[in-house]
Assembly symmetry: C2
Homo-oligomer: 721 residues x 2
């Protein structure tokens, strides 16, 4: 194939991915939705989720316009290409938003349909939930490959030199990253505010069970799962995917001048630039193939089905990578005295994969139910919530050790076999199967939602049982997904960092230079500031929610009366209540103003996402222009190191607390005594879980984006400083 | 004065400091000790503290011997000076241990005497407590100046070139730092294990009040205050003091070849090397002068007395610094194209002082009673312990921002006015008044102990009132002390870092080098690992203590009976108990086996200090030899940045939780409702305080030492890698 055909093929494969999502979406839509109550609940969740996206996108549109204006203004005096940076930026932002929209739309359709399917069969339910997840997964990679592919095609036809092309394409990554950060932060705040609000006032103060329709925050809680775990995660992975590809392309451009490359007619010396794009495109195909193998017969094991799909596409991708790498790169070449080989690049991909799996397994070890560290937290809950918290913090901090060692080895190893390009391509290798990986990830919250709907719609217990079974199996996969997310974030940040240095024309950033050291300190501090902002934002948003729920309980007479009835009949089966009580209780049905709670959560989360987002975007700009490129380099290194550490610490501490709490729900043995749900010890574990919530769902995952976003911002402004 | 006289004068001033401590010690010893019960309690505390030191020093002696052997062995093939490195190391370790011993001996004599003095007058009590603290303060600086001064005198007479002299002197700093780390960690574990053990079983399970003699862990708890806050802190500041001086000396050696210096006959070109030593020596004199102004008449304000002493010696020191710097340094000189001025060096000292005060005031803002951040934690306690914890973590993380910005500005500023030497001398400036600063710091735990003794000895309430008043006033000073500790640790680490680079003959450590980046990640991870180890060590040691206290309550019949009596008469005034009950109760007096608890705490803390200590010492050795000097440089930079951040985060979160809890003890208004001690809200705040304990007293303060120790180890091994 010659260059034209291949670079044309890339966006076509992107379109193929999108067509797959259209097909899957229509398949999901064709499934039955179940009872009228289920339909109503499903609609309420969908409307809430969409209302959030609408409100969020309104604010983000303003942000995009302002930044686009600034980019156009700052570039107007320098380069003719600046307007195209703006175009790339807008397109990146738009694609990121669209990926979130497509994914959430599918997820909020799949949830009720999964519940309905679970009424008859586990296999059916898996199919529906996974189809919903697959829309998200393939939507993300399809849009990424399509967007980057088209821009590359467009700009290479402008007759520019490759570095200029890539500078402009960087705008796409900037757009994707900035939207991702806002989406992650806002989604994280939304879901935790609703969660805490529903729990603290509904469950604790008013004493009504979880997911009870009388609790005005219930629907908001379920909406939160969608905006946080689906839309937020989708935007997150979109930016990881795009960032790793762009970082590798920029580094690969250095090879354009090498004889062995220019002697190869196919890409006019750009093979190393096109390689990551091509791998990503092929990953779409292997992911689609994989989805067809996720099937389970009744009585079968859903875990095996998911593993089957992922393993198969993983193996296919590995074979394809070998073939593509050896076909596209010269067997051996050298640049600036460093020797490279095609096999070295392939080994770098393998190193990335092993590192990703390694970090994933460690994540599972530190956070999984019944593992030694989680059991340690359980044991420490016996002496109260303080010791539970100390144990969780300690486990979270300890859990950084092995992943960091793995990362350090991977960085040195990938660099050893293929230089900086090796570090970058290792991240691409980790993410090339994002399509199916994300499908599995997104299937989790869909099953979770399906369970909530089963509860709210009063479906028989076995339905909830099936959705719970679905929900439980995704854990290991999710842990490995997290490992890939963290590993690729670190490697991508390093790739972007090197790309920044190339673009800013600096050869070395010397730590012993005090300006660099000052940058390192400031950068290291940002993840602390960012986490603190995210955590206090969750606190404030939850307070708003608590006040609203209290207001409704006090001012809506029917609700107040129904709560009184519930209190009066505490511990009495609903059927044994007096007729008068039943009447009062039924009268409250539908009186809770769910929409108000949704509005509160929406407003609060969007209000609170602004400051952390601006901190992330403005700090590299300020340091870059005030302190120069070397100080900015120090800032990036600092934010990368502590960002990765704080992300691992917070995510794993949160995950471990969560599962420690869950272990009490099934009953757990500590030194010969059994402890169950409702015991004082369980309550101590609930405190840990609540502390862990903003850790693992708000600040932790946002940090991965933070460090890449800052690197991308640096890369974008590099030509101007 | 010519060189001989001046370098002779330095150790003489060190001796002067030590003579002052001898004089103060004998003065303290001459004070009355009070009632027989007070004497007995005081003796028990003193014996426990000394038993701990003895056990600790036994282990540390082995450590010192092993390291000395390794140093001698590794050096035997290379340099004739290696045996003198060993000598320096052993002397540093010994001096550090001696400083802790002198300080603790004085503190454990001063505590009962302070209690006794407080029976009659506040002014008297202040005088005794401060005298005890002054022994510690002047002991530390006296030993530091004496040790360094003698070694410098000795080695410069060997006819070596200055770099060799300084390499050998570095061993002193290494000895001081390693002992300091072990002492801080062991002391921190001891005090928290005893504290938690006494609280959880004694107060919560058995329901007996704090500091009650029936609680077998009470004495251990009071011993803990001495081994943690006195001996631990003394070793800590000894190493800071020595580290900053040595770092500056090494950097100053670069000027020895500059014409303007060699033209100056006084120090044969070594003025910049001798300057930090001389400043430190003069600081002894100004500190001693300051102590004479710490006096308060009855009814006077002890805070003013302390401020008076510190301010006066601060102003004297500033004047002396100006005179010495301008006298010792040429007005203007240049090296490698960089211009330096004597005034620039003086400005660097001022920058250091401003930075230290700035960080101190911020520390006070984030942790002081009634400040906005602490009130935020109080407000968040209303919704339970989980929100209290989240708020505390958030405050701790947020509190890193301003100190880091100050540090970054100070680094750039000090470097701007006086290069790397400016950064180093800024740290010396911060610490030159350590003598009186530490006297004020150590006076805190002495007053605290005095209060405990008043309680245990059943003294009238006004005695406790006076000691509480003494205890309360040290807070702002202590916060500023913390600011100086953190600021100087960061600057000293940077100075040692530069010294390491000079010794290892590397000009630049390029972050873009993957090996450096890997080192940066690994170094950044170490403070997380170290904190996790410290926290789980506290957990395990506390468990040992809990088991021992439970065992005594169950197996000592008199104790068991007395506890039964207390439970039976709960809420009844002791005088109204039946005669039989009184008899049973009295029979239990002295039956609690305090010594066993002391032994448990001692054993556990010494067992648990080993691993964190070895991690700190071995990691630079392993990385240095396996990864080379550049990777080691990355490691040091990483550990410095996250070490400082985690130290600020943990210390401030812990301090803020502590004071939030204290605010409930006086009663606090949240949104119009008053909350008091014993309320559910107060209990939520107690959880935060317990979590904060190992943060602020074990892992947080140890990190300051960790980062310097690792730099010193790197500096010591630099010639070999």
């Amino acid at each position: 194939m010659d260059i034209k055909t291949l670079t044309l093929a890339i966006p076509v494969i992107g379109v193929l991915g999108l067509l797959f999502t259209v097909w899957k979406t229509s398949w999901v839509n064709k499934q039955e939705e179940g009872t009228g109550k289920m339909v109503r609940i499903g609609e309420a969740i969908r409307e809430g989720a969409m209302a959030f996206l609408k409100a969020e996108y309104k604010v983000l549109a303003i942000f995009v316009l302002v930044v686009a204006g600034l980019l156009a203004w700052s570039g107007s005096t320098s380069e003719d290409s600046s307007i195209l940076i703006v175009l790339s930026f807008v397109l990146g932002a738009f694609s990121s938003g669209l990926a979130g929209y497509i994914g959430m739309k599918a997820a909020t359709k799949a949830n009720t349909r999964t519940t309905h399917a679970a009424r008859t069969s586990l296999g059916r339910a898996l199919e529906v939930a996974f189809a919903g997840g697959a829309v998200m997964g393939l939507g993300v990679v399809g849009l990424g490959v399509l967007g980057l592919g088209i821009l590359f095609l467009l700009y290479t036809n402008m007759g520019w030199e490759i570095n200029k092309v890539l500078t402009v394409i960087t705008g796409f990554s900037f757009g994707a990253s900035s939207i991702a950060l806002f989406a992650r932060v806002a989604g994280g705040i939304y879901t935790k505010a609703a969660d805490v609000g529903a729990d603290l006032v509904g469950k604790v103060e008013a004493g009504i069970p979880e997911d009870h329709p009388l609790n005005p925050a219930t629907i908001a809680d379920n909406v939160g799962d969608n905006v946080g775990d689906v839309a937020g995660m989708g935007a997150d992975l979109f930016e990881s995917f795009v960032g790793s590809i762009v970082g590798t392309m920029v580094i690969g451009a250095a090879f354009a001048t090498v004889g062995e490359f220019s002697g190869d007619a196919r890409f006019g010396g750009l093979n190393a630039v096109v390689l990551p794009l091509l791998l990503a495109a092929v990953g779409i195909i292997t992911s689609i193939i994989g989805t067809f193998f996720v099937k389970v017969k009744d009585g079968g094991d859903p875990q095996k089905a998911l593993n089957m799909g992922e393993m198969l596409s993983g193996v296919l991708m590995l074979i394809a990578t070998y073939l593509i790498v050896t076909a596209m790169l010269p067997e051996r070449w050298s640049l600036n005295g460093v020797d490279y080989t095609a096999m070295g690049v392939f080994y770098a991909v393998i190193i990335g994969l092993i590192a990703g799996f390694g970090i994933g397994f460690i994540t599972e070890y530190y956070t999984g139910t019944g593992t030694k560290p989680v059991k340690e937290i359980v044991d420490n809950s016996v002496t109260g919530s303080a010791t539970n918290i100390i144990a969780g913090l300690s486990v979270g901090m300890k859990s950084t050790v092995v992943p960091i060692v793995i990362l350090a080895i991977a960085i040195i190893g990938a660099h050893y076999v293929a230089g900086l390009y090796g570090i970058a391509i290792a991240a691409v290798g980790m993410l090339s199967n994002t399509g199916i990986q994300l499908a599995v990830d997104a299937y989790g919250p869909i099953s979770d939602n399906a369970g909530g709907i089963a509860e709210m719609a009063n479906l028989p217990k076995e339905v909830r049982g099936r959705t719970d079974k679905l929900d439980a199996v995704g854990n290991t996969t999710a842990a490995i997904g997290k490992g890939f997310a963290i590993g690729s974030a670190a490697l991508t940040a390093l790739a972007l960092f090197s790309a920044f240095m190339m673009t800013a024309h600096i050869d070395a950033i010397n730590i012993a230079n005090p300006v660099v050291m000052a940058g390192l300190f400031l950068g290291g501090m940002l993840p602390f500031l960012f986490s603190a902002l995210a955590m206090s934002a969750v606190g404030r948003a939850a307070m708003d929610m608590i006040k609203e729920v209290r207001r409704q309980f006090n001012s809506i007479p029917e609700l107040k009366a129904a709560l009184g009835v519930m209190k009066r009949n505490e511990g009495v089966d609903e059927e044994k209540w007096s007729e008068a009580d039943k009447k009062i209780f039924d009268a409250a049905d539908g009186k809770a103003e769910h929409a108000k709670c949704i509005e509160i959560s929406t407003k609060a989360s969007i209000r609170e996402m602004i400051v952390p987002g601006l901190v992330a975007i403005l700090s590299p700009v300020i340091i870059g222009f005030a302190g120069g490129p070397e100080m900015l380099g120090g800032l990036l290194a600092g934010v990368t190191v502590t960002g990765v550490l704080m992300a691992i610490f917070q995510s794993n501490a949160g995950g471990a607390w969560d599962n420690a709490k869950k272990m009490f729900e099934d009953g757990v043995d500590v030194n010969g005594t059994m402890y169950y749900k409702g015991s004082e010890t369980h309550k101590a574990a609930v405190v840990g879980d609540t502390v862990g919530d903003p850790f693992k769902d708000t600040s932790g995952p946002s940090l991965n984006i933070l460090l890449k976003l800052m690197s991308v911002v640096a890369l974008v402004i590099a030509p101007f400083i």
